[in-house]
């Protein structure tokens, strides 16, 4: 697609066309098309190992595709040099699965890190901003704790405060709900939605937690074996009758995705005389 066409669609913040990506022999993405519209929460879902995290790393330029284009805010990510890529990344926040907080810095210093790094704000201004960001995730009182003293859910909320420190245009969430108890799950869901709407952000959420994701997302993509197999609003996908979508959305143990990893027939396998 030409650049004029992109500019003609300012409502699309991220546009991916014909994306191909391989890891060695393994094909992760094959001719993937995907649009993320401004101001929405868009979720990319799929079984484990379908390359959802890889997709985020491609969008942020941490990995390079084998073919295809990735445009973020009109800029072709694959062609940016390091300086331009770093400038673009200052406008994106990413929430890693583990939180990725710097373990030798306190909660306060972690959130202050991007501010001190990329702005010339005075210490008192940095303090005010950090406290506001921590207040937004409900952890203003935890500012002096070290990352090791936080629960998993708290660490993720601190990481979220850090991700919004520079008021980005977009936040990418990598499996935000994995391993969370119901309470912190609820907190995170509410936070993601609130931050998106209150600050006019665009959110990309990668997850396999179907129910939670569907309840806060505006638009869903389901990817499997390197392609988009279904797309639509949560309601549309809930009504979709294709076997694949039903298996994924309803969590059925068998269907187009088989319960068994590919293997020779059981009887044949048991009769073979081999050590393993």
């Amino acid at each position: 697609m030409s650049s004029d066409a992109v500019d003609a669609r300012p409502e699309v913040l991220v546009e991916i066309r014909g994306l191909c990506f391989r890891r060695g022999e393994r094909v992760i993405f094959e001719d993937l098309d995907l649009d993320i519209r401004r101001g929405t929460v868009t979720a990319v879902m799929g079984p484990s190992g379908t390359g959802k995290t890889t997709l985020l790393k491609l969008i942020t330029g941490q990995l390079h595709p084998d073919a295809g284009t990735i445009r973020v805010a009109g800029q072709e990510v694959t062609r940016l040099n390091t300086a331009a890529l770093f400038r673009l990344r200052q406008r994106m926040g990413m929430l890693f699965q583990s939180g990725a907080l710097l373990t030798d810095l306190s909660v306060f210093d972690n959130v202050a890190y991007p501010l001190r790094e990329h702005t010339n704000l005075s210490a008192s201004m940095v303090r005010k901003l950090v406290l506001l960001k921590l207040e937004a995730v409900g952890l203003r009182g935890a500012r002096d704790l070290m990352p090791a003293e936080l629960s998993g859910g708290m660490a993720r909320r601190v990481a979220l405060a850090r991700a919004i420190a520079l008021d980005p245009m977009m936040i990418l969430y990598d499996e935000p709900f994995t391993g969370q108890d119901p309470i912190s799950m609820g907190m995170l869901m509410a936070l993601i939605r609130q931050l998106n709407d209150a600050s006019g952000l665009t959110s990309i959420l990668v997850s396999h937690d179907v129910r939670e994701t569907a309840s806060i997302a505006d638009y869903l993509y389901v990817i499997f074996e390197g392609r988009v197999v279904a797309r639509g609003t949560p309601d549309a996908l809930a009504a979709d009758q294709s076997a694949w979508v039903r298996q994924f959305m309803d969590g059925l143990p068998d269907g187009p995705v088989h319960f068994h990893y590919p293997a020779p027939a059981l009887a044949e396998d048991l009769l073979t005389r081999r050590a393993r």
Partner: protein, 259 residues
Amino acid sequence: MLDPLARLGRRVLEALERLGRGHLLLLAILLGLGEVLRRPRLLWEQMFNIGVLSLLIVGVSGLFVGMVLALQGYYVLSQFGAAESLGVMVTASLVRELGPVVTALLVAGRAGSALTAEIGLMKATEQLSGLEMMAVDPVRRILVPRFLGGVLSMPLLAAIFSAVGVLGGYFVGVGLLGVDEGAYWSQMQAKIDFDEDLVNGMLKSLAFGVVVTWIALFQGYDTVPTSEGVSRSTTRSVVQAALVVLGLDFVLTALMFGD
């Protein structure tokens, strides 16, 4: 028939690739050295971690090495009636050889392994990717201060090792074995040459500082981000550093002292 050959070829290619990545990383580190001028605090922290915290093990080892050198040296030298030269022998061995080499081995074991584990775990816990996503270059921010801290600490530690060793030799030689105190110091003063002995020893230890820190940082940065991967990288960091230091020592000694 061809399988082992193919495996061997793959191993060699992998090793060459790793070597290439290692050199690219060193280049990136060297290009980023200016970073510590902007943030000198990062360098002080690392010199504390790598240098100051290694002082105890380096000092204690230096003391015992010097004491043993005096014992052994006295035994040989007294057979030729040259026990007064004990000071020269102890000092030359320490400054030229044992100081730089043993210090490098100790630092590789104490600080190098810690560096590898730290960087490896930062990679495994996505802290390095997190920095990249905050538009901060982890090579400049994390690796450069550690590299420079290690390189600058090494000669200082080696000097301390040698100095403490000379004192250890003095305690044993003069205090215990009855070598003449005046002879111990004055012969040392007369025979140990500043350029030939001290400067060459310092240069050696600077070179060891570069390789030990470089290997430690690369092994951490290039680790497979799992617990097994980090453990393997840490082992590899110490083993490789030790072997490279000993090999490099031979080359440098031949260049400096073999005429």
